[in-house]
């Protein structure tokens, strides 16, 4: 029982991270029909950004947080303007390779700036771990969950209560129709890029204390976040949340009860299962073709 609870705690913590990464994927997919293979690298940028701003420059944590997330957003802005927008005949496969090129570039750049070593940062607050029915809950886990919930609520508010958010939703439904009603569709794409990449960077910031940050941490996180997005249904925000938490919990249960070597396989086995059984994902209603 204690073991189960312990696995669930760590699963939910990981799940929250996957959920945020999946949210970034889904947002961008909604706005642009593009899958950004460099998304994991923005998570890495966030984590390493926090290392620099918080532990090297000694800025206060909230400022460092905002700077690190903002750095991710700015990198996303440059990425969209310089690499994505400039393609003359955008075919999906060409865009995919450009994002792959960007991910290699960002990894290389991070290696130059931060070196090959892994960096750690302390927890956001120095409290003792909490004991719940014999299982320990790290305080950082609470930070992660809290911040993720705030981000999700913020995103929900943005989509449903602000004009810009509604315009972005309109673009996701039909870009051309939205453009005809006077919504600047191109600006919405740019904005989606910025929000998506800063969400990724924020995910990197909040997990920095629980994992070591290094230039190559992003790839696996990105792919896992991707599995979570597919699991929940690509393009669905609630789906991304459900997919993330489901993946995190199943992964940590699998590691606990089977073997730790299996950890990375679980995400991809789930991915294949959902693709074969229900390609549109748990929450998705998308028009994924299967016959």
């Amino acid at each position: 029982m204690e073991e189960l609870l312990q696995y669930l705690f760590s699963g939910i913590t990981n799940g929250a991270i996957y959920a945020v990464i999946a949210l970034g994927f889904s947002m961008l997919y909604n706005a642009t029909d593009l899958i950004n293979f460099a998304h994991g690298e923005f998570v890495m940028l966030g984590g390493l950004g926090l290392v620099t701003f918080w532990t090297v420059f000694n800025l206060p944590l909230p400022v460092a947080f905002i700077l690190a997330a903002g750095m991710g957003g700015f990198a996303g802005f440059l990425f969209e303007r310089l690499a994505i927008r400039t393609v003359s005949k955008p075919q999906p496969i060409v865009l995919v390779i450009i994002t792959v090129g960007a991910s290699i570039f960002l990894r290389g750049a991070a290696m130059l700036v931060w070196g090959k070593d892994a960096h750690g940062v302390p927890d956001f607050s120095s409290h003792e771990p909490i004991d719940i029915f014999g299982a320990t809950l790290l305080v950082q886990s609470l930070w992660i969950l809290g911040i993720v919930l705030i981000m999700v609520a913020g995103l929900h508010f943005f989509y449903n209560r602000t004009l810009t958010g509604k315009a972005m939703q309109a673009c996701a439904i039909n870009k051309r129709a939205a453009w005809l009603t006077g919504i600047p569709a191109n600006k919405m794409v740019l904005l989606a890029f910025i929000i998506s990449t800063s969400l990724g960077a924020a995910a990197g910031v909040i997990i920095a204390p629980v994992t070591m940050c290094s230039y190559d941490m992003g790839t696996m996180l990105g792919l896992k976040g991707f599995c979570a997005a597919m699991l929940g249904g690509l393009g669905s925000l609630w789906g991304a949340l459900i997919g993330g938490f489901l993946l995190g919990s199943l992964e940590s249960l699998g590691v606990g009860f089977f073997s730790s070597g299996l950890k990375d396989a679980i995400a991809f086995i789930l991915l294949l299962l959902i693709l074969y059984i229900r390609p549109q994902g748990i929450m998705g209603t998308a028009d994924s073709k299967r016959f």
């Binding site: 293979f37 393609v87 005949k89 496969i93 390779i97 290696m111 396989a265 991809f268 994924s288 299967r290």
Partner: protein, 321 residues
């Protein structure tokens, strides 16, 4: 029109290619150049198989490194652990890759677009994890050592030159097979799937079977490449067959130019040579590699073959005026 020209079987072109291989093999003495050429050949085998799938049938795969790995690991385990004759191991490796391709392809190829990409990605990752975690059989993360070199009777392929000929005449044969297929009824049906799957179904093309056949064919070529790689390098590790390798294969196809077997050769050469050239940049290697990848795709989204032909045609028009 140019695509047609590039893919039409042309006996002269194949004879010329044969001659070039024979000459290059004779003239290149430097061991380093021989090694680079052999690796280009192996990558070309990978790219041309995937090009059949992506360029002609229009189906993306982000997990083809799995078949490359299956070829390499099967022959490594059979020859080094069980002392099976390598050429029998080659047959078993290809059959195994084919069998796995059928089992994986049947459900996966029903998907399309990004969903197909993700399905193949997932299966590629799972195989990479198997290579890494099944350490009693595969040697785990530290790799598999002691793969014997190849020979036929008294003819040994240990020297660079002999291995060069082995690899490049495999490439030559695979090119011939591919161009025969492309110009057959099946090849035309494949291209119709690429243009519109629904339309080709409507005119009576059995799209599912065809897609599966091409998937299996490309898996077999990848397994052959894996076999040649394992016996050449004599050491394999899961890192050579990971997600990045799958992506590199796709990149070779797209950069070279889809739907052109010669484009596959060009793409494979570029992606093999690029890291070699970039060694000079040492620390900046990854940054430059990523930049080159992005720039080629931004400037020539149709791939190098098409891009260079475009530039050539444009300059010719200029001179005419």
């Amino acid at each position: 029109m140019c695509d047609m020209l590039l893919s039409r079987i042309n006996p002269i072109r194949f004879a010329f290619f044969f001659l070039v291989i024979a000459l290059v093999g004779l003239l290149v003495d430097n061991a380093y150049y021989q090694q680079v050429l052999i690796l280009i050949g192996i990558n070309t085998l990978l790219a041309v198989g995937l090009n059949m799938l992506m360029g002609y049938a229009g189906q993306i795969s982000l997990g083809h490194a799995a078949f490359y790995g299956i070829g390499a690991y099967t022959t490594a385990i059979l020859t080094a652990k069980y002392q099976i004759y390598p050429w029998i191991a080659l047959v078993i490796a290809i059959l195994l890759a084919v069998a796995i391709a059928v089992v994986v392809g049947l459900p996966t190829l029903k998907l399309s677009g990004y969903y197909l990409g993700m399905g193949t990605l997932g299966f590629g990752m799972i195989f990479n994890i198997i290579f890494r975690e099944w350490s009693s059989l595969t040697g785990g993360a530290s790799g598999f050592v002691g793969i014997p070199s190849l020979s036929i009777g008294s003819l040994s392929f240990e020297s660079g030159r002999n291995y060069f000929y082995l690899v490049w005449f495999s490439v030559w044969s695979v090119f011939l097979i591919c161009s025969r297929i492309i110009n057959s009824r099946a090849g035309r049906a494949l291209r119709s799937i690429h243009d519109s799957e629904n339309a080709s179904m409507a005119v009576g093309v059995d799209t599912m079977t065809l897609k599966l056949q091409v998937f299996v064919l490309s898996a077999a070529f990848s397994a052959l490449a894996g076999f040649l790689y394992a016996h050449y390098i004599s050491f394999i590790s899961p890192g050579s067959f990971d997600f990045l390798m799958s992506v590199r294969m796709v990149t070779m196809v797209v950069i070279g130019g889809m739907a052109s077997i010669w484009g596959a050769l060009l793409g494979a050469s570029l992606l093999t040579l690029l890291p070699e050239w970039l060694h000079a940049f040492s620390e900046f290697e990854m940054v430059v590699y990523g930049l080159v990848l992005m720039l080629v795709m931004i400037l020539m989204p149709q791939g190098l073959t098409r891009g260079i032909l475009d530039i050539y045609e444009r300059s010719r028009e200029k001179y005419r005026k």
